[in-house]
Amino acid sequence: MALHLNLYHEIHRQAERERRDPVKLAGLAALLFAMLLVFWYFYRLSVVSRVEAKRQQVRSEWSHLEPEKKAAVENEVLLLAQQKSNQALFERLNERFYWAPLLDEIATFTPTNIQIVSFEGVLDNGKEKKKTITVLVRGVAAGLEPRTVAEDFRRSLRDRLAARYPDVSVQFDANSLEDGVESVTLDGQTLGTATFRIRAQFKPKTAQ
């Protein structure tokens, strides 16, 4: 086993003592702490500078935008009123009932032995879902059995309307179907007549 003498042992011990000197260590710790504080100070300084620059930028933008905002607030009332009337017009336009297709339909399927004397249509503008169309048709039916002809016409009208509109109800008004006193000649044949008044009620289609 080799012999280990080392005449540097005093120097090593002194160096170790200096390395562990509490004053030196405290000084180093204080220096480190001070460096950390300085670093923190400059870090915070940079953060605050960035925030300050952002604030200046936002303030500058605000000075430009504020008059526009005021004008926009004033304009908003006007535009809201316009929007409201537009909405009302739009709704009215969309929800109106087109009579022409109905008249065309009735004119098309009315047989020759039925003469329509009057046609009265009423649109009841209640709430949206309760909006109802009432049609009152007065006419004269001619035939060997004129009341049957009138009844056929009523059924036909009901079926035609039911194909186009919901909630269809087609009825004769009370005591409105009566035999007429007059007779007519149709296609060279003398036929009896009956007068009738049909009341048809239905709801318009939601989208026309």
Binding site: A2, L3, H4, L5, N6, L7, Y8, H9, E10, I11
Partner: protein
């Protein structure tokens, strides 16, 4: 001045990667000029090391073996420094002293509690240590070991000739420039360290005084076995021979064991004539030993011849370097 650079390899083996030997003029060989010389030596060495150590031979150096009760080395250091006159027969208050218990020889019983333990004590005046440390600092050489040459040489012998170190009695003789060291050990135990104020410089001066023109001529005459020069050399080596003989005598009287061989290192050990004279005078085989016997050599091929020529000089440097890598 000598330097070696070692590298750790697999299985704990070491490899020699660089070495340098620098001869200094007499007036340059001072502690004050150590820094400059160290810079030149490191330049010659090349390479980079993670750790470094230094061993310095100095006439003031103290190497003793003392016997004390078992005591921690830290306490013994202070005791030696304070009670120098009592324990070391000299005032050591201004010295840097270090010590370590000497391991007992193989097969010896472990010391019982209260028994005396043999300690190796080494020291150098504190200003010298400071000067060496400053010289190393100046050259940005981070040395963490400062060893005394006899201890480094013994460690080198242990690492390089482990079989002999652990199983036989041995004598190591290091013939330095101005001093010689005689170390006697047996089976891993250090028995004796003796220093002598005699070295290659005195040998050369003596022969030059006897008529040789210079040291180169001395070497030539010794190689030619010129009778007068050989006899003058024998006369000059007389003091060293006496010292080695008395050391061997001391050991053999104590242990009743024979020393089979003397191992030589140092500048003069390179001269076959000096080795022959020592063999004749001591009547024992005297041979140099290879400090790098257990090392891989990874130096350039053209430097192998230079290394072979310088082998007897590099034992101490190897001891310090190997101790850093293996021992600590």
């Amino acid at each position: 001045m000598k330097a070696v650079l070692l590298q750790r390899r697999n299985a704990g083996r070491l490899a020699l990667t660089h070495f340098a030997v620098r001869e200094l003029p007499e007036e340059e060989n001072t502690l004050e000029k150590l820094g400059e010389n160290l810079a030149l030596l490191l330049h010659d060495l090349g390479g980079k090391a993670k750790a470094a150590g230094i061993a310095l031979s100095h006439p003031d150096a103290l190497v003793r073996i003392i016997e004390q009760n078992t005591i921690p080395p830290e306490l013994l250091r202070d005791a030696l420094r304070i009670n120098g006159p009592l324990l070391l027969s000299q005032d050591c208050r201004e010295w840097v002293i270090d010590c370590e218990a000497i391991p007992a020889s193989a097969g010896a019983p472990a010391p019982a509690e209260g028994d005396h333990v043999r300690y190796l004590v080494g020291g150098l005046p504190r200003p010298h240590v400071q000067q060496v440390f400053q010289a190393c600092l100046k050259n940005k050489l981070a040395t963490n070991v400062f060893q005394l040459p006899p201890v480094a040489l013994l460690n080198a012998f242990e690492f390089a000739q482990e079989q002999v170190f652990k199983t036989e009695a041995f004598v190591l003789v290091d013939i330095g420039h101005r001093s010689c060291t005689v170390i006697v050990g047996v089976k891993g135990e250090l028995i004796l360290v003796r220093s002598l104020e005699y070295g290659g410089a005195q040998f050369a001066e003596h022969l030059i005084l006897q008529g040789a023109a210079n040291f180169e001529e001395v070497i030539t005459l010794l190689e030619q076995e010129e009778v007068l020069t050989v006899e003058n050399a024998r006369l000059s080596l007389n003091e060293l021979v006496r010292s080695i003989s008395s050391s061997i005598g001391f050991f053999e009287a104590q242990r009743e064991e024979a020393i089979p061989k003397v191992f030589l290192t140092g500048g003069l050990a390179r001269l076959p004539a000096v080795r022959n004279l020592l063999v004749e005078e001591l009547r024992l085989p005297c041979e140099t030993w290879d400090p790098f016997a257990e090392c891989e050599l990874t130096i350039p091929r053209m430097r192998v011849a230079a290394l072979t020529a310088q082998l007897p000089l590099l034992g101490t440097a190897y001891g310090v370097a190997a101790e850093i890598i293996k021992g600590r």
